[in-house]
Amino acid sequence: MSKYSKHLLVCGGTSCHDSESDAIVCNLRDEIEAKGLLDTVQIIRTGCFGFCGKGPIVKIMPDNTIYVQVKPEDAQAIVEEHVIKGKKVTRLLYKDPVTAEPVSEPNKMDFYRKQLRIVLRNCGNIDPEKIDEYIAHDGYQALGKVLTEMTPEEVIKEVKDSGQRGRGGAGFSTGIKWELAHKNKSDEKYVVCNADEGDPGAFMDRSVLEGDPHSVLEAMAICGYSIGASNGLIYIRAEYPLAIERLKIAINQAREYGLLGKNILGTGFDFDIILRYGAGAFVCGEETALIHSMEGLRGEPTVKPPFPAESGYRGKPTNVNNVETFAAIPAIILKGAKWFSSIGTEKSKGTKVFALAGKINNVGLIEVPMGTTLREVIFEIGGGIRNGKKFKGIQTGGPSGGCLSEKHLDTPIDFDNLIAAGSIMGSGAMIVLDEDDCMVSMAKFFLEFTVEESCGKCAPCRIGNKRLHELLGQICEGKGTLKDLDRLKNMSLVIKDTALCGLGQTSPNPVLSMLDNYYEEYVAHVTEKKCPAGQCKSLLEYIINDENCVGCTACARVCPVNAITGERKEVHLINPSICIKCGACMEKCKFDAIYIS
């Protein structure tokens, strides 16, 4: 066994690190040494506790006690009181915000664990290639319950009552979608799982399929029973080879156990699932385009109605749901609509999975109850902005969403609040931007994506987005005017109103929200011809500071276009008309003599 009887875990997350966790470790070590306890007490640095607002955190094991906002001078109290006398240091415990009672154990600290895993319940816990592990974790119990104890109508009512809304981004009620497909009479119906995850920075669905494929298969069978379908299809992009591999294994295992196929669990219900591969076109995440792609046609959207629930795959009633929507279904069936609807906000129930990326310390996959604020996501779970930089914005909903600024940080995240704030929930990609990101370049970046991915069927999307992209390019190059900003806005609104499908209707969102939230930055680009974030190369000028330059010639030698002149040991000069703004000189200079204006 361990020679240590106590472990002191000190948070070494970036944000705690900034607030003196080094000094805390140092003082703790001194105290322990002074008391002659080096052989029995060990100090360990850990990763982020996700509780940065109350950092630095010190946790004592095996006592399972958490101390918050610890200062270096508290080391003595922790060692003398807690480690030696076994008494908790009450003043360092977290105080319950409601009762003001001190709490020490993390499992009694609900507020501390801001994440709740419903969709990701098995991810990172079970072996996705072993159906037995899924079954041991109550897998396929919901299917069993549905087939033996519930009518299709009852299942639909349960899903409707749960308040679950489509996690692909549009937020349509899952129960109503099922009901529509259920009501349409037909000899054959289809259940389709949309696994065509295409937002840049999104990997929620991939993680679910790679970590817990059976949860999706089970939910599809439940949906099949409810709407009266015996065939399921999963449309997955071919660039997800591991997810495909694990899905294939899962489908085969389910078939071997008779959980897919004919006469499931002896109830007479037949259901089977096949895979269909997408080539990675963004528009194929739109359900009508997805269906056409599965039929072997061009991946182009068509006008709704008719909705797929009426006429979908092969002209039959089809229910299309996203991976995450499906993965929550078994939990809703087993734990009940009432339980699910007790989580979240008034109109958005349950939890949402987000892929947290960009300039944030804890890049990761998270799941939080609806209603969690952006601040909690970014500064608690996400551990704050990288390198101590300033938060500037967060792009939610991928290229179809908008960029929210500082003033939105306390907005509780749900479908309606995000729309009201000028963005969308989308599939759940969150890209965090800091002070170094230029909002004109960012809008241009997202537009570049939609221009590339537009199928070209309708003019607003094909031509409009292209023109928007050109305008943004001109602004970045300092060739824009104030009038162009109005033009940007008007054109965006027209595209939004007139495009055929979701792709075009949402593609101007980044432009509109960024214009709205960062208008001064756009104005600076067109009036002063300046890029405040220092990103737009055409608007920058590299200048050598006379005082710092020692004339070492390093910059002149590294310049690829010979834009720098000057004699040895004399101040050098950059010729702005030749300079291509590559930044090589600035990187090379050891005397901090080159700066950007």
Binding site: Q115, G124, Y140, L242, L334
Partner: protein, 133 residues
């Protein structure tokens, strides 16, 4: 594999599995074995999880530690891949991040063999639901 032909059958299957799940039935002394889970989603594998998993399987056997090494999906800590979870018999699981082969070796020698913690611990910051009513 034999078919599961009724809901009762499925429930029975779950019971037999839960009584043996945590130990994955590979060893004769289940209550004494160490359980190592390696996060093997695309992102984990891309940052070297496969080599880490092979290392644990090979070295734990070579160093005579009764252990079961298994793969699992994404644990959510992308910033700290590869990540693993180690459960010592009778203890709460501990998650370690940034596990390269050097740290893997430390984890075996220090944490698994003596219970002494090593750097790179990731505090679990979520609650997970239990499907049982």
């Amino acid at each position: 594999m034999s078919k599961i032909t009724s809901f009762a059958d499925l429930k029975k299957k779950r019971e037999t599995l839960t009584s043996g799940l945590d130990i994955k039935t590979k060893t004769s002394h289940p209550e004494k074995s160490v359980l190592v889970k390696v996060a093997m989603a695309t992102c984990g594998i891309a940052s070297g999880a496969k080599a880490v998993m092979e290392f644990f399987s090979e070295q734990l056997e070579r160093r005579n530690v009764a252990a079961v090494v298994s793969q699992t999906g994404c644990m959510g800590y992308c910033y700290a891949e590869p990540t693993i979870e180690v459960r010592l018999p009778g203890q709460d699981p501990v998650v370690f991040g940034f596990v390269d082969l050097k740290r893997a070796d430390q984890i075996i020698e220090k944490y698994i063999k003596t219970g002494e913690l090593v750097d790179g611990i990731i505090p679990v910051n979520y609650q997970s639901i239990d499907l049982k009513e």
